[in-house]
């Protein structure tokens, strides 16, 4: 069993492994609502304010153009950068056209194409995360949604140019991480980042989507929580009641943070950048490592097996790993599954 001090310091102090309280659930949910606010600035709202001469490029050169993910070169204070982001709509029509910001595989493959171009030309990359998640429909599966996300992640781990990631709204699961691997991760104050939507988490673990508020609190998905977990580096304050109240001010604040982050990243040699990025990726996670009881498995062989081994009896004496790890029950863990 474990004690509290083995859990992550300040988060664990707030919660003694109890379900979130109503107040915590309400607080987390209000952030989720702000992150999803219909008037919240979307990627293109911010890109047009932060950069000049943004030139949107289209298509993955394989299948089609995915309007749920946009990108292209632009100038940031006169310097060329590659901009890539999920794109939600601002109303029903534009949301339908943008598939609510949920990309198909071709969206991620367009992102990869733009990242390779940035790598080729030595342009830093700035990404904007704002998606409920990658689209889960049959067409997306058919065209390899999982492969598209996986290969995007892999590509980003090896790019020789600096990558600054901005979580501006919803950072939803693998679809967000597909363009979310970087050297600096910035989040707007009311942005959220999670492994699964709170509704999805509630449906699986609480068996009721109505518990989404509680799930949102339990998953620690607010920007501040992400800083505590070491996943987000810095938070950019939003104006007034939230980013939706002032797109210009939000863009100005975010731009300052991006410029500063790129200046820091630019000081590193490309090789050093990759080593630091690898170390950053490699170090995320919480676990305990105890001295390995390597002898344990060996001593578990019983007399029958040892005699069998000495006498070379057929079928006896082989250490069966299925006997080494033999638990008390065999029912499936399906209900506890993953995302």
């Amino acid at each position: 069993m474990m004690t509290l001090d083995e859990t992550l310091g300040s988060v664990a102090e707030r919660v003694a492994m109890a379900p979130p309280t109503d107040a915590e659930a309400a607080a987390a949910w209000s952030r989720v609502q702000l992150a999803r606010h219909p008037q919240r600035p979307r990627t293109l709202d911010l890109v047009t304010r932060m950069f000049s001469e943004f030139t949107e490029l289209a298509g993955d050169r394989l299948f089609r153009d995915d309007p749920a993910l946009v990108g292209g070169p632009a100038l940031l204070d006169g310097r060329p950068v590659m901009v890539i982001g999920h794109q939600k709509g601002n109303d029903t029509d534009s949301n339908i056209a943008r598939n609510f910001g949920s990309a198909h595989p071709e969206g991620f493959r367009k992102a990869q194409r733009l990242m390779r171009l940035a790598d080729k030309l030595g342009m830093p990359i700035v990404t904007f995360l704002d998606t409920a998640g990658a689209y889960p429909g049959p067409a997306a599966e058919e065209r390899g949604q999982a492969e598209a996300i996986a290969s995007s992640i892999k590509l980003m781990t090896g790019l020789r140019v600096p990558i600054v990631v901005c979580i501006i709204g919803e950072g939803g699961s693998g679809g967000a991480l597909a363009i979310g691997v970087g050297d600096v991760v910035i989040a707007l104050e009311n942005a959220v980042y999670s492994v699964i939507s709170p509704e999805g988490c509630a449906a699986i673990l609480w068996r009721s989507p109505d518990e989404a508020k509680v799930a949102a609190a339990a998953m620690r998905m607010t920007a501040a929580d992400q800083v505590t977990l070491g996943i987000v580096d810095e938070i950019v304050d939003e104006p007034g009641e939230g980013a939706h109240t002032d797109h210009d001010a939000t863009a100005r604040a975010l731009k300052r943070a991006v410029v500063a982050a790129l200046a820091r990243a630019a000081r590193e040699e490309p090789g050093e950048l990759l080593v630091t990025r690898y170390a950053r990726i490699r170090s995320i996670g919480a676990y305990r490592e105890t001295a390995v009881d390597a002898a344990r498995h060996r001593t578990e062989q019983n007399l029958r097996d040892r005699i069998g081994r000495i006498l070379h009896l057929p079928g006896i004496g082989r250490r069966r790993w299925s006997d080494v790890w033999r638990g008390a029950g065999d029912d499936d863990g399906e209900a506890e599954g993953g995302a």
């Binding site: 069993m1 859990t7 992550l8 310091g9 988060v11 919660v15 492994m17 109890a18 429909g137 065209r143 390899g144 999982a146 996300i149 996986a150 992640i153 892999k154 781990t157 020789r160 991480l177 999670s194 492994v195 673990l205 339990a218 998953m219 620690r220 929580d225 992400q226 505590t228 977990l229 996943i231 090789g271 990759l274 080593v275 630091t276 690898y278 170390a279 990726i281 490699r282 170090s283 996670g285 919480a286 305990r288 105890t290 390995v292 390597a294 344990r296 029958r304 005699i307 069966r320 790993w321 299925s322 790890w325 033999r326 638990g327 029950g329 863990g333 209900a335 506890e336 599954g337 993953g338």
Partner: protein, 331 residues
């Protein structure tokens, strides 16, 4: 050492003697199922296998050397739904006899030494949290260090929700080493078994140089219910099966369990570790990432570094060989 009667075998109770095949609904005698590699003798349905059964199936006798068995999950979020995460972990440990949902080590397949990682679906649905991600990453790095092929046998519902974004970021952690295997010229074979979905499929499992799957295994990004529920579309025939992925170009080979070991052995014969890649000496001379990690830990400060397990790792495993960092100059 526990006292055991030498010639007795641990037996399941009478209620456990039979298993109903979910495919053909025949009752199968459990001992027969064990003898037939957990394949239904009537219809060929592939039952799920535990990590131990999988090792016994695939690896040469007594060749498996487990590594990093001392990695244990903690509860970074203080997560509690109707049960506390720590209680779920403990229940899974008791149920499976395992410490976590994945195991890695070195072993031999038909004489070929490999670094192999294996998932056990019985342990919280094979879900990938920090420990599972760390084991997969160390397995791939272990392949790099010894310059032997890497194999990961997946069976997972995806990322472990109870660890929040820490589990999401395991997608990156398990994928990053593959970039290094590419540079070093070390092959990676991904074996997909029933079921492989979500975050595991959306990371290393989809990126094998060769991808092998077991027949009729459920393989997909989103759970089939999520897909039909959120989208409301009719699902195609055989949607999210191994065969579906093969026909759409995402799986190389669908191989029945009886042929799996021989197929892996054949792949190991025809896919050599590149001779042009880095030598071990070169790797030693190159600065590894661990030094950088500890530097990063200092910058991050105490609270976070405890949480991310750096200190523990350095304390107990500081002399672990580390994979080389190499600057790419060839692109």
């Amino acid at each position: 050492m526990p006292i055991k009667f030498p010639f007795s075998r641990r037996r399941s109770g009478p209620s456990d003697a039979w298993t109903k095949c979910p495919s053909c609904e025949q009752q199968v005698f459990n001992r027969q199922l064990e003898r037939s590699q957990r394949v239904c003798p009537t219809c060929g349905h592939h039952f799920r296998m535990s990590v131990g059964e999988r090792i016994d199936l695939l690896l040469d006798r007594d060749s498996f050397e487990e590594r990093d068995a001392g990695l244990e999950s903690v509860d970074p979020l203080g997560f509690h739904d109707d049960r506390a995460y720590v209680d779920r972990l403990e229940a899974a440990r008791v149920k499976t006899g395992l410490v976590e949902a994945a195991v890695w080590g070195y072993g031999r397949i038909d004489g070929h030494r490999v670094a192999i990682g294996l998932f056990d679906f019985r342990f919280m649905g094979g879900s990938m949290g920090s420990v599972v991600g760390e084991k997969v990453a160390r397995c791939l790095e272990g392949a790099l260090v010894e310059r032997v092929p890497a194999i990961v046998v997946s069976a997972s519902g995806g990322a472990r929700m109870q660890e929040g974004t820490l589990s999401l970021l395991q997608l990156a952690k398990t994928t990053a080493p593959l970039e290094r295997l590419d540079i070093a010229g070390v092959p990676f074979i991904s074996v997909l078994t029933d079921p492989t979905t979500g975050g595991v499929l959306a990371s290393f499992a989809s990126l094998g140089d060769v991808i092998v799957a077991e027949p009729r295994a459920l393989i997909g990004f989103a759970g089939a219910r999520v897909a039909s529920g959120t989208v409301g579309e009719e699902l195609p025939e055989g949607f999210q099966t191994a065969e579906f992925l093969r026909d759409h170009g995402f799986v190389d080979l669908v191989v029945s369990r009886g042929e799996l070991r021989a197929t892996l052995a054949r792949l190991l014969r025809v896919l050599p570790v590149s001779r042009a890649g880095m030598t071990a000496d070169e790797a030693d001379r190159t600065r590894g990432p661990i030094g950088v990690i500890s530097g990063l830990a200092e910058r991050l400060g105490g609270a976070v570094s405890e949480g991310i397990g750096i200190d523990d790792r350095e304390a107990t495993n500081g002399d672990r060989p580390v994979p080389p960092a190499r600057v790419r100059t060839d692109r």
